[in-house]
Amino acid sequence: MNKKFTAVRLTCAFLIAFIITVAIIFSISEEPMTAISNLFLGPLQSKRYFFQVFASAVPIIFTGLALGLVFKSGNFSMIADASLYTGGVVAAAIAILLPMPMIIHPIFIFIAAAIIGGVIGSIPAILKVKFKANELVTSLMFNYVFFYIGIYIVNTFFVDRQAGTFASLKYSPTATLGNMISGTPLHFGFVIAVAVVIFLYILLYKTKFGYEIRISGSNPEFAKYSGINTSKVIILTQVIAGAVAGLGGAVEQLGMYQRFNWQDSPSYAWDGVIIAILSGNNPKFVPFAAFFLAYIRVGADLMSRRSDVQNELVSIVQAVLILFITAERFMAGWKQRQEAKKALKEEA
């Protein structure tokens, strides 16, 4: 019953989001059919666009995993944003300033970015454990702090003054990730993302520590009385989440860019929220949720290039989906009626 109910609810949430999207497009566009066909079918039009979806899914797989892990432990830190951005800066710094041989270069970068991402991730967690400071509040503000520090580092040590806009010097070719399928933007970062998915799935569902995380999240009182060190769980999950996000920032930089040009912090961490929710905080489902969002994103980019509807439409769709999927009582009436019907049938 519950599984069926979840499926029906998800379908309804998607339907509502779909109807709202179509309604908005029809009310503002002069070429609504072009817009709609590009939004929903655009990515299927060519091999390039299709693999663009996979490439766009990579950074949000990382943030989806990071946020899912934090949510699973019952905490609510948005520090993945800072970890990801700083991970990207670290990647840029090492890719430009430290010459190294092929293969070793990106591996060294990934390790460094993950460590620094993890350190950043630990800060709100430590403030929470030590001083009871709400991790959501502190992480939201640390995001700004680390964003400005990142900009400062790029600006001071390896900015390209010849470039017209904000951009770093070019990365050493030994550092950048190769394309998996030539002629498409899909790079080997995708493999790393899948490896992290598997790692986190095993960690969460096949280890003792994963069990502790899940118990702390679902029943914190019980966790405390059964002797689980909840402080350790809080800090370690956020360190791992930060490391995953930091790694994601580095992978994205080395896979998709030749130089660092994130003038604003990318919204990947916020996208991670919807991915965590869609996947039910289960790493197994994160790639699918990320693929869905990336598909819509690529479609929306095509739509805004080829019609008069802008790609910011996606964030409206995203918000509607989050709101309806997490609404506990959404469709509760339907569930009740179904249950009543079933009960009546059994009686008869």
Binding site: L127, F131, M141, Y152
Partner: protein, 320 residues
């Protein structure tokens, strides 16, 4: 040492304190909003998005009606509408308030650009719209006093409104039925329900009040000194209000001082831009200082709690 001189130079100018009140205003209004919601037991993360939407609505409505007042009312009304949406999901459909808030913020950051582009054909700022500003006010008598006049007079009308609202909210929590109901619902919903208070209704009213106050903050941003909307212009002020609100612990007057800390930092940041400190360090300072103050506050509360528990235990052993 040079930096200390720069800071000292900034602090000795009356205009510095004027700018402090100016920067504090939107945070103060939002802090009051966050406080009302929080005391009713709802953590309103949507403030950031609400403020952003309100600042766009204020600009657009004032540009089309050519009336600053109607623009302001439009901004406030948009705060009212957004808080109703939030209340519907949180109170009626039992959504997680934080996640719903994040949804609304996501909606606001993209949606405002989407609408701005529809109206102006641009994604960055509303420069092509002829929007209006709300007036500044000179206070008679006070404006003639040297120094104090420069600091306290000539502010934006919403700055004075915010200060009046501090008194109003303080009074509301202390002496009115509504204020007590909000506190009761926040502290113990079950107990409140048992004495016949409608928890849902009170929480709804609190959320709506917080939406309206945040709408005013949005209007201040886009119809205050700048007179235009630019994408992402709230720059985390809604999140800062969550911290200042926590520092205030439900006291509107303390909330005002906490907001002034932020105002002080961003005013100082403005004054230090010509000094040798890298721009980015100046920009991150207000956020960092609020984190430090907030964390110290939390540590203090925790310490007091421990002390009380310890004392209680001592007391118990005495009785035995």
């Amino acid at each position: 040492m040079e930096i200390l001189n720069d800071i000292w130079a900034a602090l000795s100018v009356p205009d510095f304190y004027f700018a402090m009140f100016r920067s504090a205003t939107p945070v103060l209004l939002t802090t009051l909003g966050a406080m009302v919601a929080s005391r009713s037991g709802t953590n309103n993360i949507a403030l950031e998005g609400t403020m952003l939407i309100a600042s766009l609505v204020g600009v657009v409505v004032s540009a089309f009606t050519q009336s600053a007042l109607i623009g302001f009312l439009g901004a406030v009304f948009s705060g009212f509408v957004i808080s109703n949406i939030l209340a519907y999901f949180v109170l009626k459909l039992k959504s997680n308030a934080v996640i719903s808030g994040i949804a609304i913020n996501t909606f606001a950051s993209g949606g405002t650009i989407f609408v701005l582009y529809l109206i102006t054909g641009e994604k960055g700022a509303s420069t092509s719209l002829h929007s209006l500003k709300l007036p500044s006010i000179n206070i008679p008598v006070i404006q003639d006093i040297p120094v104090i006049g420069t600091i306290l007079s000539g502010h934006h009308i919403l700055t004075y409104v915010a200060i009046i609202l501090v008194a109003v909210i303080w009074y509301m929590f202390k002496y009115t039925k509504l204020g007590m109901h909000i506190r009761a619902v926040g502290e113990s919903p079950d107990a409140a329900e048992s004495v016949g208070i409608s928890v849902k209704k009170v929480k709804y009213i609190a959320l709506v009040i917080s939406g309206i106050l945040t709408g005013m903050a949005g209007a201040f941003l886009s119809m205050g000194y700048v007179g235009l909307f630019s994408s992402g212009m709230t720059a985390g002020r809604g999140y800062i209000a969550l911290a200042t609100q926590a520092i205030a612990a439900g006291n509107a007057v303390v909330g005002m001082f906490a907001s002034l800390i932020f105002g002080f930092c961003s005013s100082l940041a403005n004054y230090l831009q010509s000094s040798g400190i890298p721009l980015q360090f100046i920009q991150l300072m207000p956020y960092l200082i609020i984190i430090v103050v907030y964390t110290c506050y939390c540590a203090m509360v925790e310490k007091n709690k421990m002390k009380r528990q310890l004392n209680q235990k001592k007391g118990e052993t005495h009785v035995k």
